[in-house]
């Protein structure tokens, strides 16, 4: 379902070429739970961004459900991110002036869904992560774990096929982190969402069905 072949991402730093990703080959099946681990700067985030359609590789091809991302224009890539991908970030990236409900509604706005539909769907998503009683709270009124759950609900909003979580537990203590990972696992198992988790935390990575390690832009 996700096919990366011969992917390279090259940065130029002081006239020197640096390979963030160096001819990477990777296949991920539908419904898989895969953990990507590796040291800082190894290229694991770049890999996730390319899968998520936020970034395009300089070389190689990305084919997702028989659709090539390498030659897609901005509106196609945006629609892809909107419909197929849900992002979860280490630092949550919630809108501070919006309530939890409104934050979850953001992807639905870009999906051109009517306001009443949006609200209905966002409430469902918050229910999935167990925050139905916190819908009208702003991020500052929520704990770290709750914030990350809002983030998961936002990622779920458009019923994505793939959820990409970049260090989802990085800002949480181990108990809250485990809760978040539990929710993600449930989504993977019950909804069949393909789950890609990037993490430093080996205990999180171990829960995945498959674990790959990246070092200096290469899968080892």
């Amino acid at each position: 379902m996700i096919e990366l072949s011969n992917i390279s991402k090259i940065y130029e730093l002081g006239g020197e070429k640096i390979f963030a990703l160096d001819h990477v080959e990777l296949k991920i099946d539908k419904g898989e739970f895969i953990a990507i681990i590796g040291p800082s700067g190894s290229g694991k985030s770049t890999l996730a961004n390319i899968i998520g359609g936020l970034d395009v590789p300089d070389e190689g091809s990305v084919v997702i459900d028989e659709m090539s991302l390498c030659h897609a224009n901005d509106s196609l890539l945006s629609a892809y991110r909107n419909k197929k991908i849900g992002f979860i970030f280490q630092s949550f990236n919630l809108q501070p002036n919006y309530t939890a409900l409104e934050n979850v509604m953001i992807p639905l706005i870009f999906a051109k869904i009517t306001a009443s539909e949006r609200k209905k769907r966002a409430m469902e998503c918050l229910k999935v992560v167990g925050l139905e009683d916190r819908m009208h709270h702003k991020p500052t009124q929520l704990s770290g774990g709750q914030r990350q759950r809002v983030c998961i609900a936002r990622a779920l909003a458009n019923n994505p096929e793939i959820i990409i979580a970049d260090e989802p537990t990085g800002n949480l203590d181990s108990k809250k982190g485990a809760e978040v990972v539990d929710i993600l696992k449930t989504l993977n198992q019950k909804l069949g969402v393909t789950l890609i988790v990037i993490t430093h935390d080996i205990s999180v990575a171990k829960q995945a069905r498959r674990m790959i390690t990246i070092k200096d832009g290469k899968i080892v």
Partner: protein, 483 residues
């Protein structure tokens, strides 16, 4: 993303930085306020001038003056001329009136009396005096309409009757009930004395028969003659020049005719002639008497003649024919063209001044939007990750800037409307004798309201375009990583 969502999102984003947003809007408000006030002032003054002409059916009228060179210097349609007897041009008298009436396409004509020697006028029993502004015309003709607030129009037989203008009515506090003015008396004060007076009312005082009367003339030189006129009508306050009052030209001619006492030396002359023949030798005992002399030289010629064309499209032809006869001629179209020309010129200058303040406000919007994009780089990244296209981001920020302009325009309009209202109130109370109807000046025609909002919104939109494009071009990965 739907357009309505852009508007809501943009509004919420603006509401996040209330102080900054309000300050930016305030700058636009001041800019649009200055433009609105200048434009509405100009259009208001212009409109009241045009209204004045229209209320008098002026667009079919041709004013004929005696001096062919003065044609375009006249800014008043109805002019009392310059007494005209000393003028270099052709005389405007009854013959001229008949000639002009016979010109093709002329429907009717009325003479307008020359300047009457009246200095001040006042309502009988009141102390407050007004400078006299009296125009005489022939009530029989239908050349110009005179819409009335109360009372009746003048008739040919009216002698000591007057139709008063809105200014006089307001001055004496009858503005709200002009009908009560009908039947009241106006005292006209003419500067005539020392043995002379108008051909109306009692005869002037006779100078003493003894001596040469030099002292007596010296003493009575500044005497005044007071003449009373009954108010029969109140002119509608639609004309710009509501200070004008109207009388019948027949009466005006009487007022303009001077009656004075002169020495009758015919008996003396006769005696002298006889003594030359030798039949009489002593003429010293002949008693000289005084006789009344009428001088109607002022009354014989008119200040101007106003013609009414049977159709406005014949105006140029009539004007040409009159010019060829050697008269001065002006039509309302000339004045309208002139008015438009002048007002366009003033409008450009004032508009440019207002434009500068709007330009400064536009810089304020750019500044605000540049700051907003910097503050929200991560937010832009999140929106892109959630499926926002570059176009969506660009549109969102442009909508925000456009809303700054939009609200600035709205507040500018609201504020200038208030200023106009207050200004009108003050003007009504304190400035009754300024010859400009201030209540007509603070006008907000729909094109001004729509134009201002559209213009300030456009300014906002254009100012926000640069920062918005920059925000849209941002790489989402970098934006998400931005600290």
């Amino acid at each position: 993303m739907r357009s309505f969502d852009y508007i809501i999102l943009a509004f919420r984003n603006l509401a996040r930085q209330k102080t900054r947003t309000l300050l930016t809007i305030m700058a636009i408000t001041i800019g649009s306020l200055s433009v609105i006030l200048m434009i509405s002032l100009l259009t208001g003054i212009r409109q009241s001038l045009v209204d004045m002409f229209e209320s008098m059916d002026a667009f079919a009228l041709v004013t004929v003056t005696s001096d062919p060179n003065s044609a375009n210097d006249n800014n008043s349609l109805i002019t009392s001329g310059n007494g005209s007897s000393e003028s270099d041009g052709k005389k405007l008298n009854d013959d001229a009136l008949q000639t002009l009436k016979k010109l093709p396409n002329v429907a009717d004509a009325t003479p307008i009396g020359g300047r009457i020697n009246i200095e001040t006028m006042k309502l009988e029993g009141q102390d407050k005096k007004l400078w006299a502004s009296i125009i005489s015309y022939d009530p029989e003709t239908k050349v110009f309409q005179m819409p009335l607030e109360a009372g009746r129009k003048l008739t040919t037989n009216d002698m000591d009757s007057i139709v008063v203008g809105g200014r006089l009515v307001k001055t004496y506090g009858y503005g709200s009930h002009p009908a009560d003015m009908i039947g009241k008396k106006i005292v006209l004060r003419m500067k005539m004395g020392g043995g002379t007076g108008p051909d109306w009312g009692p005869l002037p005082e006779k100078p003493p028969i003894d001596g040469d009367g030099k002292d007596w003339y010296e003493q009575h030189r500044n005497d005044n003659t007071e003449i009373t006129a009954t108010i029969v009508g109140v002119a509608q306050n639609s004309a710009m020049d509501d200070s004008q009052n109207y009388i019948n030209i027949a009466w005006a001619n009487k007022l303009m005719t001077q009656v004075r006492w002169e020495w009758d030396d015919s008996a003396q002359k006769a005696c002298n002639d006889e003594s030359k023949n030798g039949s009489r030798t002593d003429c010293r005992n002949i008693t000289t008497s005084q006789k009344l002399v009428k001088d109607d030289s002022n009354a014989k010629s008119y200040g101007s003649i106003i013609l009414k064309a049977n159709s406005t499209k014949n105006l140029p032809g009539i004007a040409d024919a009159i010019s060829r006869l050697g008269y001065g001629v002006s039509t309302a179209q000339d004045m309208l063209d002139q008015i438009n020309e002048i007002f366009t010129g003033i409008g450009i200058v004032l508009g440019a001044i207002g434009g500068i303040s709007l330009f400064v406000a536009a810089i304020g919007i750019i500044n605000t939007m540049v700051m907003a994009t910097f503050e929200r780089i991560r937010e832009i990244g999140v929106m892109r990750a959630c499926g926002a296209t570059r176009a969506s981001i660009r549109r969102l920020f442009t909508f925000e800037a456009a809303q700054l302009g939009f609200w600035g325009g709205i507040f500018g309009l609201g504020l200038s409307y208030l200023i106009g209202k207050v200004g009108t109130q003050i003007a009504d109370r304190y400035a009754t004798d300024i010859p400009i109807p201030i209540d007509k000046i603070a006008q907000f025609p729909w094109w001004l309201v729509g134009g201002v909002i559209a213009f300030t919104t456009l300014i906002g939109l254009l100012s926000g375009l640069g920062p918005a494009i920059k925000a849209a071009r941002m790489n989402p990965v970098d934006a998400l990583r931005y600290e």
